[in-house]
Symmetry: C2
Subunit: 207 residues, 2 copies
């Protein structure tokens, strides 16, 4: 299949969220205009995004809400559950483990790792914190598909290298640093300092 841009994929996530909302509201049909308005984009963009994957609508009518939801979930690979490991039992890690939004969408944080002996053995919800040295042996027994790096920046690259070695292909990185990785590994960065600095840039003219 043709390469889909990241912006398209992100918009698809948005459509999915809106569709679920429409579904809860009992709406059965939706037009590209409605999706565009609520999703901060244009009707043409919505139709183009969807058209990369097929023709899901009915001309003159719009899209069936349930059908399109189903198809989008399928396209995004959200029909399955993912086992997620969290590396770094700090403040961000703690917030992530407790966040309902993950498990609700099929992302289960099944293990937490840290190198701080005082944290190892403590329980976070129903997940025990394990020493990061157990990573290799644990994953050999119970594989995961996604890893979240929430370590200090100084340890992030070494952590990623180990994850790559273990065959992990998808990583969410909260450490505020650019990580090197093979092309077949996807690394998504969440960097809150960058977001705030972008706001700072936007404010520079406001005094």
């Amino acid at each position: 299949m043709r390469k889909i841009s990241e912006s398209t994929v992100r918009r698809l996530c948005g459509y999915l969220r809106l569709l679920e909302e429409f579904q809860r509201a009992g709406k059965t049909t939706v037009s590209s205009d409605e999706l565009a308005l609520r999703g901060h984009t244009t009707p043409a963009q919505v139709r183009k995004d969807l058209s990369f994957f097929g023709s899901f609508g009915k001309r003159g009518l719009g899209y069936d809400v349930c059908d399109l939801t189903e198809r989008l979930r399928d396209i995004m690979g959200l029909d399955k559950n993912y086992r997620v490991a969290l590396i770094g039992a700090g403040k961000i890690g703690s917030a992530l483990v407790q966040y309902r939004g993950f498990s609700d969408r099929g992302f289960d944080i099944v293990s937490v790792y840290d190198n701080d002996e005082t944290k190892v053995g403590t329980s976070w919800g129903d997940v025990a914190v394990r020493h990061v040295s157990a990573l290799e042996s644990d994953l050999a027994v119970a594989p995961i598909q996604i890893a979240i790096i929430a370590t200090p920046a100084s340890e992030a690259q070494a952590t990623l290298d180990r994850l790559v070695q273990l065959g992990i292909k998808a990583v969410l990185n909260f450490a505020p640093t650019q990580l090197d990785h093979p092309a077949d590994v996807t690394v998504q960065n969440v960097n809150m300092a960058v977001e705030l600095e972008t706001l700072s840039y936007a404010l520079r003219s406001c005094g």
Copy 2:
């Protein structure tokens, strides 16, 4: 000045981070090649990004690390401190308040608001949680420049509307929903579900 794209602004943040690293390492001069390599971009991109704002380098030599750092901080508006209010004293909020990366870069979380009476009055570090109804009167006395929305999705839009009413022009939104806002207000979204779903999409071919 010509409109600068968001991708350029985000790359500038990256260059700044690298420059600070180079500075700590005692490097005095840096080339676009070096910045590109470490910042996952191309030398031409680095030069183009910088050229929007002026000619900071010396041909044949490269850029002076200190000078370029200074200029980038200036361009990004990072020469001043920002007063930040956090609305929503939940898990994410708690992680954010404790996160050193913010205050280190001049973003000071000076107040926390929630509508849960059991949280109001408790202390988070050196910041007391206040009832969200005090928002208007508090900001009249001690203005802020940036607000962080960390409320449930259901309350995010109403919260943003109040912030806009109060004249806030920059908002960081952690609620997993698209918010409507006037064009002169900048809203940056951090949506961890979208990041994970992007990873899910990337994994769809891996089985």
